[in-house]
């Protein structure tokens, strides 16, 4: 009888452990990449990416390390509908070494832009910095 009760407890523990999953957040994940370059080099590289994208800078503040840009993209999944993508870019130099971190958050007018732009964006910045 006691053994049966013990097994029951073990089963209950397994069930409750399954429910305690990782908490979720409505705040988006931080998309960040470090570059072995100075702040100024990264700042200029981001502007070059904007130029390559034929984008427009809507806000910038060098003392904050902030560049906000927008550009149009043709959405192939939605009848080639033209979509305006906004990207908040935050550049922060690390004090310990010659490393600069770049954070980016893509948005559309009604919320987050969920497609993966980070690989393309960071790839372009990295390529410009390697030249």
């Amino acid at each position: 009888m006691n053994k049966k009760i013990n097994y029951l407890f073990i089963v209950i523990i397994f069930f409750t452990a399954g429910w305690s999953s990782i908490p979720k957040s409505d705040c988006p994940a931080e998309i960040k990449k470090d570059f072995p370059s100075t702040f100024d080099q990264v700042w200029e590289a981001v502007f070059e990416v904007v130029k390559n994208l034929r984008g427009t800078v809507i806000a910038k503040d060098k003392s904050s390390g902030l560049i906000v840009l927008y550009y149009n993209v043709c959405d192939s999944e939605r009848n080639h509908e033209l979509k305006q993508i906004y990207i908040n870019v935050y550049i922060k130099s690390q004090s310990n070494a010659n490393i600069t971190s770049v954070y980016m958050f893509p948005k559309v007018k009604n919320g987050l832009y969920l497609k993966e732009l980070d690989k393309y964006f960071f790839g372009e910045v990295g390529e410009i910095l390697r030249r």
Binding site: E30, A59, D61, L66, N88, K107
Partner: protein, 165 residues
């Protein structure tokens, strides 16, 4: 007789269909700002200080608070304006908000909602979206909580990071 009734019926159906299709598009001040790419968008920090909700952050420098404001707010929406010299940031989110970071012994953050941007261009007395003061207070508490975490914990929980190789 039947032809006449049928004709009236068809006319009514056609009128019903086309009036449904031609729904007038209501534009707001916010839509106008998007169209102009936020060009000429200015904010008075005095109004933010006088009309906004505030929270002080002791034991933190202005730079620490400012960096946290930028990092937290850029996750909320599109930053339409930022000037570290003035200590002002404007974020286009739901509802749009503007922040003034004031230097001092204790750095204070003032937050003001710009829900007036939802005013219709054709009828400025009407707004497309309205938020009551309880909802605004709840939003503000949420923003200040995130700011506190960013300032004092210097970041978020690890599972909220994506590292790109």
């Amino acid at each position: 007789m039947y032809q006449r009734i049928f004709g009236v019926f068809i006319t009514f159906i056609l009128w019903f269909m086309f009036s449904g299709c031609a729904t007038p598009v209501v534009k707001t001040e916010l839509d106008q700002l998007y169209e102009k790419n936020f060009e000429g968008f200015e904010i008075s920090k005095i109004s933010v200080k006088n009309e906004g909700i505030s929270k002080s952050f002791p034991y933190a420098t202005f730079d620490e608070v400012w960096d946290a404001v930028i990092l937290v707010f850029m996750q909320h929406g599109v930053i339409a304006y930022a000037a570290k010299d003035n200590g002002v940031v404007a974020v286009i989110t739901t509802p749009p908000m503007v922040v003034f970071v004031e230097k001092g012994d204790n750095v204070t953050v003032y937050l003001k909602w710009m829900d007036k941007l939802y005013r219709r261009l054709d009828k400025p007395a009407l707004a497309t979206v309205k938020f009551d003061s309880y909802i605004k207070r709840k939003f503000a508490d949420n923003v200040f909580d995130r700011l506190s975490t960013q300032i004092y914990a210097k970041g978020k929980w690890q599972y909220l990071y994506i590292k790109t190789n």
